[in-house]
């Protein structure tokens, strides 16, 4: 019992000393905690990756761009969907105007609100003619070749983008109203489709632009799910890149996607006006910009990147496509 009392008195003594000592040191402890807290909770700098502006493509005085939505590249051509003018414009690699394709209409070779574009290795131009619910195909000189309808079961699909997958000999189309990706043969026969309206992996809420990964997977922007989904050519193994939000690595209104030779996935965000870079494993790398300040684009939509690491950004409300030199990307992130 005594032993126990002694212990108790010792405990009380030590507690009293600590208490008095604590009151003396309390201001210092608070200061230390505040400083350490500030260092702990200070806003992390936005990781940016340097880009350099090369030039803008605005069209000519006679044929100015209006609400450009998407870009496709060949070795010697820049093909831009001039959606506000219901046409496609073709430029040289340095931005010189070559020719225009189509005008507003419903006849062959005309468009109503075209949105997406892609090319194949022969230079043929594939256009998602949204308002006319069809894919139109032109030769490299803009001559109309053929078209196929993408109306499904009397439902107007309103195709947003088209992706030519030559290994599969397919043309993939993102459907706006059915929230699906459809793979057609070159002749226009539906071979595969997947998706549907939803938030779960593999489903979409407004699939938009598409890009082809080096490993031949498809990267599909899923606008209102604020993500990019990667799929096998058969629509299998969905994998999400990005998440909803406004922080670095998050997406609010993703619209455009481009993939470079190394498999880096570049995603434009039309509301936040930025382009972010992810790995094909979904890891956020960086935001294009400089010194922690993201480069602001005016409602960026479709993206394209050539082998020289030149990034083409369709800035819709700026009525131009801006061209940027992106310094080499690496998985470490910031410049």
């Amino acid at each position: 019992m005594d032993g126990g009392n002694k212990d108790d008195s010792m405990t009380r003594l030590s507690a009293g000393c600590i208490s008095r000592f604590y009151f003396l040191l309390r201001p210092f402890i608070s200061l230390i905690l505040l400083l350490s807290g500030m260092s702990l909770f200070a806003a992390e700098k936005i990781p940016t990756h340097a880009i350099r502006h090369l030039f803008d493509i605005k069209g000519t005085t006679a044929t100015p761009l209006n609400l450009p939505t998407d870009i496709a590249l060949t070795n010697d051509r820049i093909i831009i969907v001039d959606s506000g003018n219901h046409r496609v414009q073709v430029f040289d690699p340095d931005g010189g105007h070559r020719f225009s394709i189509g005008r507003e209409g419903i006849d062959k070779g005309t468009f109503r609100g075209p949105t997406g574009v892609d090319t194949d290795s022969s230079g043929r131009i594939y256009v998602a003619d949204s308002g006319n619910n069809r894919i139109q195909i032109f030769d490299a000189e803009g001559k109309f070749l053929t078209a196929f309808d993408v109306t499904r079961k009397d439902q107007l699909i309103r195709p947003i983008d088209v992706l030519v997958h030559e290994p599969q000999r397919r043309v993939y189309v993102s459907g706006n109203t059915n929230h699906r990706i459809m793979g057609f043969s070159i002749g226009g026969y539906l071979q595969v489709d997947w998706g549907g309206d939803g938030v779960e992996p593999g489903a979409f809420r407004y699939p938009a632009t598409m890009a082809l990964m080096p490993d031949k997977r498809l990267a599909v922007v899923d606008v209102l799910n604020s993500r990019v989904q990667l799929f096998s050519p058969a629509g299998e193994n969905p994998f999400a890149v990005g998440e909803w939000g406004v922080l670095p690595g998050q997406l609010f209104r993703p619209k455009g996607v481009a993939v470079n030779d190394q498999g880096f996935i570049l995603v434009s965000d039309s509301y936040m006006g930025v382009v972010q870079v992810f790995t094909d494993e979904g890891k956020f790398i960086t935001v294009l910009g400089k010194d922690g300040k993201p480069q602001k684009f005016r409602t960026p939509a479709g993206l394209a990147m050539d082998k020289k690491q030149r990034l083409f950004v369709a800035e819709m409300r700026a009525n131009k496509v801006s061209v940027w030199q992106v310094s080499p990307l690496n998985k470490a992130g910031a410049e």
């Binding site: 506000g84 998440e243 209104r253 039309s270 939509a301 409300r317």
Partner: protein, 781 residues
């Protein structure tokens, strides 16, 4: 132990909560939740902005200042465009080429009345009191399930109901100077759909039929440019023909300005005269209107006056009347069907319904009045369009009956005039048709209107506008007293086209007022201007219907021959002159008592002929002694050769009562009262107090009634009445007595003769007057 246990427990629970929170957050990015649904637009509600350890990609700015002013970020254009850019929903048209849209970033004008609901404006303004996207749009407004109206509006916009909630000053239709809405258009033109127009149920016109709130093609948010009236003419396609007419003031008068101050060459042909809002009354009129009796004519007269834009074509006096009910012409107008009571005259032709107007100047489907628009379609120069000039080439110069904006080409038969004036069609079957009347008179033909072929036959006598006198007469007035007489004698005079049909110096008097004379008639009377007036006097047209050769057979072609001579059965008489002289009796009822007397030549001399070679059977009893035109003398318009007499009355009577006359068996032995004796007529006698004796007819030297004059035949005799006791004669030649013999009085006691000749004056006169009476009543030896 306990404390440590509690601390450990607290830490574990905290860790677990933090872990769960992190899991929940990660899951929130993938699943639909209320939080996410809201932040899809309300981006600043995201908790990411409150994180301290990571800088967001965009700054926290919940009420940014944008081009429309300071407002909630959820209603900024950038948020809207982030979905409506074609990748989610396609509203790209709104941003194409900076086209015209509903004003934003402006405070509402004074005319806008934003309704209040529970004290709050139904359509909110932004922090600066300006219109912004959120004024009309809200994700929380219209139910997504209802398909009649666009979603994202604050209220349903069925039939443009939402537009009109604020724009009340644009509602109410034409009565309030606005284009009608909710009007059934049937099948709206495809061009409008292509331009983005919308229509209500069953193709009804709504605000959005002309206006697009976003990305419109022209000012005022019009769906297409209208500077050449393209929008107007898309629906009003039938009005496109105005382009090639003088009424296209964009070309003919480019400096003309409408009430809005817009020039014609800026607004296009339609808006010079019509504006869809704030117009001046019917037809959405865009010009100042004169204060005229006929509101329907006011728009036309606004230009067609002496000081107006169309002063060369001013409408002045003696033009076709307006605001006259078409029923006055015997026409029943019901919808698209007209019926005339003169149907038999149409000869199988159908009347073409023409526009009619009410007293407010608006078109009506039943009944209605004639106005400018009845005859003229101001949008069509030629009714059959065949003579339309090329586009942008204006019809110049004066028009004619085939053009002049007439709704029906006149043609030779004056088809437009006759469409209403069916009863006048018979004029073509008479000598009043110059083609008939002037046949064989080549010298006279030049006097007709040169362009009769185009203007129609009516134009020979009538001009629809600016005539020379009453009935829009097309010729200079002739001589005469009556208004109608001057019209008739424009031709019926020695220098006129009808010089072979003049009325002579002794014709029926004009201007006699029957009412004042105590007579009644069914014939029309006319005032001094020549217009019908039941209180007016006799004029040519009282007896003649100049449009109808034969009254009892309007379609008779007996008068449709050159040089045909008329008689009592035709001659444009309103009532035939048969054996009963019906026409004369229309006014001269009292003279009917001559019938069946010895003075009715049907009884005593049926083969007699008057100076116009008319027999009693042809022209009736009246015309044997009187003719209306070209008489031998003015008083009594004598129709026979007069005899020898000391005064005119005596001459007339002795024309028959003489040895070679028709009444040679009735020659009075002593006919003459001394001419030196002058007697007072009734009025003067009464004035002098001679109440006992009735009046007596005394005459001046010209045979006219006088107050103081000679006593002659008709002082004692009333040649129209055999006996005061009988209304008609005996029907045979009879020897008279003092009770008959056309004597005005039956005895001498009460007549003026007694003044001088005593009370047996009549008896004595009869005794000594003739041989027969003297024999019959011999004096006692």
């Amino acid at each position: 132990m306990n404390t440590l246990s509690i601390k450990a427990a607290v830490m574990l629970i905290s860790g677990a909560i933090l872990f769960l929170i992190s899991l929940t957050h990660a899951h929130a990015a993938r699943s639909m939740s209320a939080n996410r649904e809201c932040a899809t637009c309300h981006i600043m509600w995201l908790k990411d902005f409150k994180q301290k350890n990571q800088q967001p990609l965009i700054p926290y700015d919940p009420r940014p200042v944008v081009n429309t002013g300071k407002q909630d970020v959820a209603s900024t254009e950038d948020i809207c465009f982030s979905c409506h850019d074609g990748f989610v929903l396609d509203s790209r048209f709104m941003w194409q080429n900076g086209k015209y849209s509903h004003p934003v970033g402006q405070k509402p004008s004074n005319g806008i009345k934003i309704p209040l609901v529970e004290g709050k404006q139904l359509f909110p303004l932004n922090d600066e009191g300006k219109v912004y996207c959120g004024t009309c749009h809200s994700a929380h407004g219209v139910d997504w399930d209802q398909g009649q109206s666009p979603v994202f509006l604050r209220m349903k916009n069925v039939g443009s109901s939402m537009c009109m909630t604020c724009h009340q000053e644009r509602t109410g239709g034409p009565k309030h100077g606005n284009h009608p809405v909710d009007k059934h258009l049937g099948k709206p033109p495809r061009e409008l759909f292509k331009a983005g127009s919308k229509f209500g149920k069953d193709g009804r016109v709504v605000c959005e039929s002309c206006h697009r709130p976003h990305a419109a093609a022209a000012k005022k948010q019009l769906v297409m440019k209208n500077n050449q009236s393209n929008l107007c003419r898309t629906c009003h396609a039938d009005k496109r023909t105005i382009n090639s007419t003088k009424h296209n003031m964009a070309v003919s008068r480019p400096d003309a300005v409408n009430v809005k101050g817009n020039k014609a060459d800026e607004t296009g042909p339609c808006s010079v005269c019509h504006i869809p809002h704030e117009a001046k009354g019917a037809a959405l009129w865009a010009r100042e209107k004169p204060n005229t009796a006929d509101p329907a004519a006011a728009p036309c007269l606004g230009c067609h006056n002496k000081n107006g834009l169309a002063k060369k074509k001013a409408i002045e006096n003696h033009s076709h009347p307006t605001q006259v009910a078409v029923t006055k012409l015997g026409i029943t107008a019901e919808g698209d069907k007209w019926q005339t009571k003169h149907k038999t005259l149409l000869s199988g032709q159908e009347q073409i319904p023409l526009p009619l107007y009410n007293d407010s100047g608006q078109r009506v489907k039943q009944g209605g009045n004639v106005s400018c628009g009845t005859c003229h379609d101001p949008h069509v120069w030629t009714p059959d369009h065949k003579k339309l000039p090329m586009e942008n080439e204006i019809a110049d110069g004066d028009g004619d009956g085939e053009s002049s904006f007439l709704r029906i080409a006149q043609g030779e038969q004056s088809n437009l005039c006759i469409n209403c004036h069916v009863d006048k069609k018979t004029v073509f079957l008479s000598k009043h048709n110059p083609a008939i009347g002037l046949a064989g008179k080549p010298g006279q033909k030049k006097k007709t209107v040169e362009k009769t072929g185009q203007d129609g036959l009516c134009a020979n006598c009538h001009l629809a506008h600016n005539g020379k006198g009453a009935y829009m007469h097309a010729r200079a007035a002739g001589p005469g007293q009556g208004g109608v007489e001057k019209i008739c004698r424009a031709c019926h005079q020695s220098t006129g086209m009808a010089s072979d049909k003049t009325i002579g110096s002794h014709s029926h008097p004009i201007g006699l007022n029957l009412t004042r004379l105590g007579e009644k008639t069914t014939l029309p009377m006319f005032n001094a201007e020549g217009r019908r007036d039941k209180h007016g006097g006799v004029d040519c047209a009282s007896c003649h219907d100049v449009h109808q050769w034969q009254a009892d057979n309007p379609l008779s072609t007996s008068g449709a021959k050159p040089g045909v001579e008329g008689n009592g059965q035709n001659s444009f008489l309103r009532v035939v002159l048969d054996k009963q002289s019906r026409l004369c009796l229309e006014c001269h009822q009292q003279q009917k008592s001559v019938f069946r007397t010895e003075h009715d030549l049907n009884v005593t001399a049926p083969t007699a002929r008057n100076i116009h070679n008319q027999s009693p059977a042809e022209a009736g009893p009246c015309m044997q002694c009187h003719v209306v035109h070209n008489a031998k003398s003015s008083p009594a318009l004598w129709a026979r050769e007069p005899g020898q007499g000391q005064d005119l009355k005596e001459q007339l009577c002795l024309g028959c009562h003489q040895n070679k006359g028709l009444a040679k068996a009735k020659i009075p032995v002593s006919t003459r009262h001394p001419q030196q004796v002058l007697a007072w007529a009734g009025d003067l006698r009464r004035y002098l107090g001679a109440k006992l004796f009735p009046e007596i007819n005394v005459y001046d030297s010209q045979g006219r009634h006088a107050s103081l004059g000679v006593i002659t035949c008709t002082s004692c005799h009333d040649p129209h009445r055999w006996s005061k006791q009988h209304n008609q004669g005996p029907g045979q030649n009879t020897e008279g007595t003092v009770l008959t013999s056309f004597l005005r009085n039956q005895n001498s006691e009460n007549i003026v003769c007694a003044d001088c000749h005593g009370r047996d004056a009549l008896f004595r006169y009869k005794y000594f007057h003739g041989k027969t009476s003297r024999r019959r009543y011999p004096l006692a030896e």
